[in-house]
Structure formats: structure tokens, C-alpha cells
């Protein structure tokens, strides 16, 4: 994998043998993966495969007792929440929005890791926020109260907040969940045009394999807490891998416009393969 060997520079994100359990229930059983500088990586897998857990461990809301996470060479166990937030920004899935704050105030909260306790937002922080809101097409909402905004508008604000955080790595947790069709591609286009195009890295947990194939340089399949497959979408989205990981019978065709793989479910064949999926063999391209 090119990601691990970046002219001797530490990769943007390096995860080694990461394990995590909720109480007695193991979720991650030794995940090893990496994200290179400027790479867009998707983490895919069925519900409960540990996608959100993985993101939570990277962003610091969960703490693992075993394994190592290094962001740009810094072990996360040894840096402060502020230092971590300067390197990793998160677009959460369904966050709490306190009412009464304006959209600009919410976006400006992204500057938190760059400010000391006694420091308040400077004019350049406000400019940064306004530019991020312009890039994500929500500048006209600046003075609106966030609790009056639609799901798509909120998603844009959260992307803008992640951008003003100026973190070299942005995590997206199910960015397309709860969004309608146009907004699904909209939010991913946005991330591609902003974070990815300015050379930043992106790691997204995402449900939709066909969408993931269009936006990601590389996909990591999680299955039973392990990396099952890791490679470019064209190589790892195969009928066999999807059947084994998801336990669903699918047909994979090629997108007529994008040329990327598209996963089509086959009706009525769900149960036929669900027991066949438990192979612990690891496919890697």
C-alpha cells in the first residue's frame, strides 16, 4: 500500500492492531489500516461492523486499551484533546444542535482548537468561517438560528465547521444518512471540492458502496471487527466480497458514466447466503 510509504513521512493516519469492546462485547478485534496524505478512504461494512467505533476512537470520544493510533506520526494517547482536534475534524452523523446559536457562531466553534482559553475569535477567524461557509454554500444562512435549518443545511454547516478547524484529516460519520438523493451526492461533492482538493485527507464511514466507490480512492471492508479487504473500489467491490461481508446476494456492474462499480441487491436472496459469510480469511488486494 502506497499510503504506508510516503517518502519516509509518517502517514496521515496509521492504525495498528486496534481493539475495542463495549463492556464484554468485542467490536474491533485488531484493526490495522492507514490513510495517506491527501487520500480519501471509505470504511464500509454492515451495521455493527465497528465503523462508527473506529471513527470514535480516532476522534477521541472513545479510548482503546489495546492498539495504537497515530495521526501524522503523533500517538493519540500522548496528545491533548486540543492538539488532536487541530489535526482531526469530524462531521458527526446526527449531532445535538443547541438552539439559539446562529449558523456563523456554530461554524466559528470549529476554531476552538486554535484558541487559548483567554483568546476570543479574531477578525481573521471570522473571515475563515465566512470563507468556509461560502465554499459550502451556506453563507447566506450566517445569521439564521441553527435549530431552524433543514438536514441538508445543517450538513453544510458541519462541513464548514470541519473546514475552519483546518485539520489535515477530516472524518465523516455516515455523511449521507438521513439525506435525500440530491443532498447525498451534494455533501460528498462538497467534501471533495474542499478538503480533498486542498490536499487534505478524508476518512468516511459510509453505508452506500456505490456512492463510496465514486468518491473514495480506497475502501476498507470491516467484518467482525477485522479488516476483511482493503484496496481501490474497482478491486475490492466484488460480488464475492460483498456477499461474504454483508451476507447479501448482489450483482456488481460498472457505472455507465463514472466507470466505478455499482452494487445492485438481488431481491429474495438475503437469507440464502447469510450463513455462508463467516469466513475469517482476509482478502487484500
Amino acid at each position: 500500500m502506497g499510503a504506508l510509504n510516503n517518502n519516509g513521512r509518517a502517514p496521515m493516519l496509521a492504525i495498528q492492531d486496534l481493539r475495542f469492546s463495549y463492556k464484554d462485547e468485542p467490536v474491533l478485534n485488531g484493526v490495522t489500516m492507514a490513510v495517506g496524505h491527501g487520500e480519501v478512504v471509505g470504511v464500509v461494512g454492515p451495521n455493527g461492523a465497528g465503523k462508527s467505533t473506529l471513527l470514535g476512537l480516532i476522534s477521541g470520544i472513545l479510548v482503546s486499551k489495546s492498539g495504537r493510533i497515530a495521526i501524522d506520526g503523533h500517538d493519540v494517547a500522548q496528545i491533548s484533546p486540543r492538539e488532536r482536534a487541530a489535526m482531526v475534524a469530524v462531521v458527526p452523523q446526527s449531532p445535538v444542535f443547541p438552539g439559539n446559536f446562529t449558523a456563523l457562531e456554530l461554524v466559528l466553534m470549529g476554531r476552538t482548537p486554535h484558541m487559548r482559553l483567554l483568546q476570543w475569535e479574531s477578525e481573521s477567524d471570522v473571515r475563515l468561517a465566512q470563507r468556509a461557509m461560502e465554499e459550502t454554500g451556506c453563507l447566506s444562512l450566517a445569521d439564521r438560528r441553527v435549530d431552524n435549518l433543514s438536514g441538508g443545511e445543517r450538513q453544510r454547516l458541519l462541513v464548514a465547521r470541519a473546514l475552519v478547524q483546518e485539520a489535515p484529516l477530516v472524518l465523516l460519520d455516515e455523511p449521507t444518512a438521513n439525506l435525500d438523493l440530491a443532498h447525498q451526492t451534494g455533501v460528498l461533492d462538497l467534501v471533495q471540492q474542499t478538503q480533498a482538493s486542498r490536499g487534505g485527507s478524508v476518512l468516511m464511514a459510509i453505508h452506500d458502496l456505490s456512492l463510496a466507490a465514486q468518491y473514495c480512492d480506497r475502501l476498507v471492508f470491516l467484518h467482525e471487527g477485522l479488516v476483511f479487504a482493503d484496496g481501490p473500489p474497482g478491486q475490492v467491490i466484488t460480488e464475492d466480497i460483498v456477499r461474504l461481508v454483508y451476507g447479501a446476494d448482489v450483482t456488481v456492474i460498472t457505472h455507465p458514466v463514472m466507470g466505478t462499480p455499482v452494487v445492485l441487491p438481488v431481491a429474495g436472496r438475503m437469507n440464502a447466503v447469510s450463513t455462508a459469510g463467516h469466513t475469517n480469511g482476509k482478502l487484500s488486494s
Binding site: 503523533h74 491533548s80 482536534a85 449531532p95 482559553l117
Partner: protein, 366 residues
């Protein structure tokens, strides 16, 4: 560790056409705070001039200014006015302002940390716990002063922290604190602490009147000594809490987002809770339990100026101070010459207000 932005780009000038409304919210609201403080000073002077012996406001101001260095008035007021003002009423109104400001600040802080608009120093048990702590020192053989340093606020602080630890411990379930459970646990702690306080006081003296004064609060008999007991804790709490205004805004997001934005949530909450409890404990030590100030003051500020903590924290102090000056004036005046506990006045205003908030809160399912 310094993290470089990925791409250095020159910043375009501020987009002037948008966001005018948000920008003032990013500054410390000096004009509001200064005007508010001026209003409180006027209220305090008016309150000081009123009482069983009424002193013309002009003379009260001159008697007040007379003692300031470099200012000399040759007044023809009776000597007794000077005694009344300087020995009785000035310390009393100043203490009322500081206690009100402490409780207002503490209330706003608890509400922010718990993300719970109903949190209040009394309703979460801190004030009654502090009252018990103070009572233990006052009625026991433990010396009240050690080398000129009062132990009462320290004992009150310990009692308050114990109460909030229990209330919070009971109501903290799987990373969240349901609002109603916190308040119920707090009220239960408050009842328990008040019951023990009452018992201890009766054991020491069969006269129940001091208990009433203590449980409902009073500034009757307040002296400069009380003012000086409160000052260091008041200043410390304000110096710790006020700079956290920006972080408190971020904490209004869920704690996961706050963590991802680089806030050390647990440490910040701990610092803020300790500071707010210190302010509460010191206020209780000098005035007893004055209910609802910590609830009313921040909510009035929110209704007028919104929820931004940059305005909320300082203005809750100003409004709390002003409110207690008026409440104390009421406590002295309504049954003149008989005085009533100030808590009677604050509860008369606060309890209906609390019920109104509960009704509103149903809509937000807090």
C-alpha cells in the same frame, strides 16, 4: 506542537454584506455590563437611603463619597446618618450585590455545564449542602476563625461539593444527566441537608427563629466582616468562570462534539463546577439559603440577550446583584419595622417563575 494548515491562502476581506448580527456576540459586552453595573449602584444607593430612618438620596451619596480618598464634603447631616449608612446599610447592600452576583454566576454556570436550564444552586443541592457545612462549624466546638481566617466558607464548600457529588452521581446515567433526575436528586439532597441543619441548630439552642433566618436567608446584621469573607471567593470564582464563556458555548453542543472540537470536557466541567460551588458556598456562609436567585437571574438575561455565555455570565451577575438589592429592600420594608427573611421575597418571585420554566421546558423535552 504546531500544526500547519494544509494550504496557506490569503484571506479575503470580511464579507460585509452578511453576518452583522453575529459579530457583536463575539465580543465582551462592555457597554451592557457597564450600564448594568451603573444601574446596580444606583439601586444600591436608593436602597441604602430607605429604611426606618429615611435619609435623602443626595445626602446618602455625599456620605458615601465623603469617605473616598481625595473627596471631602462638608455636610450638615446628623452623625447618626453616617453611622447608619456606614455601619449598617452600606455593608448590607454591598453584600446583597455580591451574594446576588455570586448566585447568578453560579446558576448560569450550573445551567451551562449540565446543559439544563433548570439547574440552580439550591435545586441541585449545593446551597443546602453548603448551609449544612457552615452550620456544622458554627454550632460545633470547631473554631470559626483560625488566625483571622474564617473556616465557615471552607466547611460550606465541602458540604456543597458533597451534595452535588451525590446528586450528580445518582442522576448521571451512561454519560448523560437527565434533567428531571438531577433536579429531583438535588431537591432530595437539599431536604436532607436542611433537616440535619435544623436538627443541629435545635440541639444547640431551642430557639427556632435563627433556623428560619438561616434556611430562608437574610442580610439582617450583615457587617463589613461578612463582605470581606465573601470577597476573595467571589473574585476567584469570577476570574475562573468568566474566561470560560467561549468554551461554555461549545459545551452546549453534545460532549462528543465538544471533545472533537478540542475541549477537555471532563476537566473543564470539573473546574467550572468547583468554581461555581465555591461561589455558592461563600454566598451561603454569609447570608444563608437564598432560593431561586441562581435560576431567575440567568433566565432574565437569556430572555433579553439570548444564550451566548459571553453576555450571559457577566449579565447574570449584574442582574442577580440588582435583584437581591431590591429583594432585600422588600424584606426590610414590607412589614416595617418587622423584617422578613429575604428568601420569602425571592421564593415569591422565583417559584412561579420556576413553574413557568417547567411548562416551557415540556416543549423542549429537557
Amino acid at each position: 506542537m504546531k500544526v500547519k494548515p494544509i494550504v496557506e491562502r490569503p484571506l479575503e476581506p470580511l464579507v460585509e454584506a452578511v453576518a452583522p448580527a453575529t459579530l457583536p456576540g463575539l465580543r465582551f459586552p462592555w457597554p451592557r455590563v457597564l450600564i448594568g453595573m451603573a444601574v446596580v449602584v444606583v439601586l444600591a444607593l436608593v436602597a441604602a437611603s430607605l429604611g426606618s430612618v429615611s435619609i435623602p438620596l443626595g445626602d446618602a451619596v455625599r456620605i458615601g463619597l465623603d469617605r473616598l480618598p481625595g473627596i471631602e464634603f462638608t455636610g450638615d447631616w446628623p452623625q447618626s446618618w453616617e453611622t447608619i449608612l456606614w455601619q449598617l446599610r452600606f455593608p448590607r447592600v454591598i453584600l446583597a450585590v455580591m451574594v446576588g452576583a455570586s448566585l447568578g454566576l453560579a446558576g448560569a454556570t450550573y445551567q451551562g455545564v449540565f446543559r439544563n436550564p433548570l439547574a440552580d444552586p439550591y435545586l441541585i443541592g449545593v446551597a443546602a449542602g453548603a448551609g449544612l457545612g457552615a452550620t456544622v462549624v458554627l454550632v460545633s466546638p470547631i473554631p470559626t476563625y483560625v488566625g483571622g481566617f474564617s473556616l465557615v466558607p471552607i466547611a460550606a464548600f465541602i458540604g456543597g461539593l458533597l451534595a452535588i457529588t451525590v446528586a450528580y452521581g445518582v442522576s448521571h446515567i451512561d454519560g448523560s444527566t437527565p434533567v428531571t433526575v438531577l433536579i429531583l436528586a438535588g431537591v432530595a439532597m437539599a431536604s436532607l441537608a436542611s433537616a440535619i441543619t435544623t436538627f443541629l441548630m435545635i440541639v444547640v439552642s431551642p430557639d427556632v427563629r435563627p433556623i428560619l433566618w438561616w434556611l430562608l436567608g437574610t442580610f439582617n446584621g450583615s457587617t463589613w466582616k461578612d463582605v470581606w469573607i465573601l470577597v476573595p471567593y467571589f473574585v476567584l470564582a469570577a476570574v475562573v468562570i468568566l474566561p470560560h464563556a467561549r468554551i461554555l458555548n461549545v459545551l452546549q453542543l453534545d460532549r462528543w462534539q465538544a471533545t472533537q472540537l478540542g475541549v477537555n470536557v471532563e476537566r473543564t466541567n470539573l473546574v467550572l463546577l468547583v468554581a461555581a460551588s465555591l461561589a455558592t458556598a461563600a454566598a451561603v456562609s454569609v447570608s444563608g439559603l437564598i432560593l431561586f436567585v441562581g435560576l431567575i437571574a440567568p433566565h432574565i438575561v437569556r430572555l433579553i440577550w439570548g444564550p451566548n455565555h459571553r453576555a450571559l455570565l457577566p449579565m447574570a451577575m449584574v442582574v442577580g446583584g440588582g435583584f437581591l438589592v431590591l429583594a432585600d429592600l422588600g424584606a426590610r420594608m414590607v412589614l416595617q419595622p418587622q423584617e422578613i427573611p429575604i428568601g420569602v421575597i425571592t421564593a415569591l418571585c422565583g417559584a412561579p417563575f420556576f413553574i413557568y420554566l417547567l411548562r416551557r421546558a415540556r416543549r423542549w423535552r429537557v
